[in-house]
Symmetry: C3
Subunit: 299 residues, 3 copies
Amino acid sequence: MSNSLLGMPELTRPQINYLIQRANYWRENWANPPQPLAYRTVANLFFEPSTRTRFSFEMAANRLGAQVLNFSEAASSTTKGESLYDTVKTLEAMGFDAVVIRHKENGIVHNLSSLVEVPLINAGTGTQEHPTQCLLDLYTMQQHFGGLNGLSVAIIGDIVHSRVANSHLSALPKMGAHVIVSGPRHLLPADLPRPIEFMPVDAAVAAADVVMLLRLQLERFSDLALSIDIYHRDYGLTETRAQRMKPTAMIMHPGPVNRGVEIAGALIESEKSLINTQVRNGVLMRMAILEWAILGEQE
Amino acid sequence: MSNSLLGMPELTRPQINYLIQRANYWRENWANPPQPLAYRTVANLFFEPSTRTRFSFEMAANRLGAQVLNFSEAASSTTKGESLYDTVKTLEAMGFDAVVIRHKENGIVHNLSSLVEVPLINAGTGTQEHPTQCLLDLYTMQQHFGGLNGLSVAIIGDIVHSRVANSHLSALPKMGAHVIVSGPRHLLPADLPRPIEFMPVDAAVAAADVVMLLRLQLERFSDLALSIDIYHRDYGLTETRAQRMKPTAMIMHPGPVNRGVEIAGALIESEKSLINTQVRNGVLMRMAILEWAILGEQE
Amino acid sequence: MSNSLLGMPELTRPQINYLIQRANYWRENWANPPQPLAYRTVANLFFEPSTRTRFSFEMAANRLGAQVLNFSEAASSTTKGESLYDTVKTLEAMGFDAVVIRHKENGIVHNLSSLVEVPLINAGTGTQEHPTQCLLDLYTMQQHFGGLNGLSVAIIGDIVHSRVANSHLSALPKMGAHVIVSGPRHLLPADLPRPIEFMPVDAAVAAADVVMLLRLQLERFSDLALSIDIYHRDYGLTETRAQRMKPTAMIMHPGPVNRGVEIAGALIESEKSLINTQVRNGVLMRMAILEWAILGEQE
């Protein structure tokens, strides 16, 4: 009955709809949630730093009654050369009910999943997958627009290195949404799969129901021969450019935001922004995911 | 109904008395405390190392039924440039019920408090404020002496850099206590506000009901052109100097103690010492503070 | 009624049997354990990195209803020079119910135990003691073989630096087991206490009911003028060498394993291996130890 969450391609449309509906159930039961995961224990294995995703999982687990144990690489015996496989086998033998993994390597959770019994949850791997962020974004769009089918989503920025973007390139078309990508040419995939369309930034902003900005890795700027100011002017959502948005269009960003780089600071908390709603929904969606991973689908 | 704890100047005398009375309530209900914070979650954001304050908050929260999530700077995305404001907004959106902050910058919790809704608790900022330590000290004095009004408190050491001392310089006079300061001249404030009196160490020790030693930042010694031995002889509470204390006078120290620097090792656990009582009361006072911050005053 | 766990020499045979029987009780009540440690708080003080032992204690405490607070050296005020004694006194004053300590110094937990009231649990100190690992190993042998009396246990590897081995050299003879040691001569104790016997590796493997490999400190290899390959060939449990084992003999290893060094990778999860069972039993034995330390023996 238990499930691993590996990546968006592995999820069916009904599974995605189930998780969205279940996140909504947890929203409606926020104040006094039932505790289906009482006596359960979840391990957070984060091999890359992340406050928000780790806290979001921990908050979600706690509200379901589960305990969370945090593994941080520096303080652990990974420094003694123990492999991730051996670590997860150890956690499995100890009786952990689920293992949440963030890692810089593509495919590492997929590879592990065939070797262990304990449910694994991909909390972001490499440049390819960040399914929990993708699912909370889908829930946020569904909640705001009432549906995903026919929605136009413009994803703007460093697509090629973004695990969030790559999860969406798989998931949004499956849910019937139309995807536009935009940003510096050398940060876009060489071959875009068919239904996905490239547009220059101004056109993308004007065409979309959702303008989704991606976090730029500032440490990459020197490599890119880009300045932050020029990036903001040419590819960021400036206040001027935001005026091109459709009246009903909304802004999203997976966070943490670089203010004044991908987006003007004043827009982050504007009424056109869903950014704080995304954070809030992250806890709810991770409640849905943890319950589904450990207990399977509920009736 | 919720409250932020910013600093001692912001608290009224009735509020301080309320918190002292409430800490005492939790002392009387230590073994089987009610759990008014069940389902609540507190974030500990410590940007400076501290075992005792962090553990004290965590113990306090747990006994009230709350969960605590710990953020430590090294392992977090602050290293990615996310500002404290954005971090706290994120925690607020996630549904945290209170955020405990320790930071080296003066005024940072005050500044934040006007920008967020979530209750903030100042767990020590800059050189100016450490209100939870101050409150637990007030509770300890109240408990031992039966009242604060008319009590003489000598604060000895590096006043100018001590957040504990500066909180007391605001709070003790408000509670009717008389404050004496002592220590090396260049570590005292240039202008002492009126009711506060300077005395040489021997006189201060002899005059006080409470001899409060401050932790010396050993890393500052080379700057000060002071040796530890000379500091101990001239400004520390040596066993000889302690004999000048009034028979009813008591020793306090916010900890952690540098044995043989501010105080002779043998005095720390002597019957004239309230140092361990302060630690114990720290948990009780932080229970009172967390409850007040999240739920407001109880009837 | 409370107890400290200092080392194996301090435990009587009936105490060891009690803890084994109690670990088994917790195995039988895994799914819905009673929570005798509700409202209790345990501090994990780990001054050496360890994922498995720390997680094992944390899992054990959580299942008994207790909260665990983790102290990691880097983030703490030990960096401010606070001594371990002062730290533990502080935890005691805060009301912690037990303190779990891992430290590189031999005897440090013994020394502390005469100075504090709070129960201490040795989670591995220096090269001499790792009683919780030893006890979980004894439980694993008891469970698999039905008893310890008369069992032959071959401990192979770096005996002299192994806290696990040294705990077993004290405990196994007390329980009526026969101990064989093997490995490179310069990694064996100069004087073996009487009932303990040295054998060359092949003979030890053939004679034993339990073949217990020790983790090799890889960082020590350059000192030892040994290569990993030669160590594996001469002292490791290769697949070939494992064929000398008695049909009923079993493999144990305290973990984490260096695959292909002390043991061939293929043997770790073979049917002759108890290594995962040891991990599982570690949680159960630590449940027994925490309950015994805080509440004393149960009827």
